[in-house]
Amino acid sequence: MLARLDNVTKRYVKNEGIRDLTLGFPAGEVVGVLGLNGSGKSTLLKLLAGLLFPTDGAVTVYDAWPRRNRAKLVFLGETDALWPWMTPREAEKFMAGLYSDFDRSRFNELLDALEVPRRKTKSMSRGERGRLRLAMALARNAKLYLLDEPLAGIDLLSREKILSSIVQEWHTDETILLSTHEVAEAEGLFERVIFLKDGRLALDAQAEALRQEGKSVVDAFREVLS
């Protein structure tokens, strides 16, 4: 297993983010992490990124606490923390200084594919900033990509460009976990889908197996989570 959670619970001050979750992720899987707001999707991805520490249980990436393998994982969070004065050129320098696996030429190819304008982020649209952030994340040569809502609040054309870039960039030995509300648009990308409900695992299924039963992932989502 590339990454795993063993009986993981994450309790916040007031509520539980994740309850007793056990999951394994082999290398080379594209996984959809699906659920309603507050179901624990972000908590799950942050635990795997080592940005949160479990209250109970163990989270491991390559058999170690995720932070020890930070170089092998990419986390793309929901918060847009780009400096307003930053241009894609400066973002490139910033990322290359921070991560030795950052591939500058891949980054520039991604900027072209995602049609990111070469100007300061403060004069970019939300979709353009989202595409820039995705280019920064995908230009790293990691093994585990944790993409938290990369499609949220972004226009339809940007969402299509993002999905198509993920398909183009994905290497078959890399694992991607992608959380999204845009289930219908993204479902074709997923080999496996994980549905969370109130911090618990509601369903863990192969997408093509659901379709074999005549259900789309969207249908299964409605069935399991309503």
Partner: protein
């Protein structure tokens, strides 16, 4: 999830790998694809359709096992020169006929009425 070039997919109409196989057969049957034609790479087709590249690879493997396409090392994937296009046309025609017959049978229409309606619509289409 739809694409202008005959690749449209439905997420609730069975496995995607099966649907891609059906789309290839349909395109062959109606001549949009011909024996010897090169197919898009699995990666490019996956990106176009927003589906996982492994799913397209799976579809191509099935088509290859069925003698429809072949992979030439380093060159890409091609429709086989001996792909059974006549069989595919026959199968699709038969399936369409079965759908029509099932629909009109539910109305209690007999063969004579069904054929007459078919002919009428056919001739009207030709006149246009």
């Amino acid at each position: 999830m739809t694409d202008g070039n005959g690749w449209s997919l439905e997420m609730d109409a069975g496995p995607i790998y099966v649907q891609i196989g059906v789309r290839v057969r349909e395109q062959l049957a109606c001549g949009d694809l011909k024996p010897g034609d090169k197919l898009p790479s699995a990666r490019d087709l996956a990106a176009r359709l927003s589906v996982n590249p492994n799913t397209v690879v799976h579809a191509f493997e099935r088509l290859e096992a069925d003698g429809v396409i072949e992979t030439k090392r380093g060159l890409g994937t091609f429709v086989r020169e001996d792909a059974p296009v006549a069989n595919m046309r026959e199968e699709i025609l038969r399936a369409a006929a079965e759908r029509y017959v099932n629909d009109v049978r539910r109305l209690g229409v007999l063969q004579g009425g069904a054929l007459a309606a078919l002919k009428e619509v056919w001739d009207a289409g030709k006149a246009r």
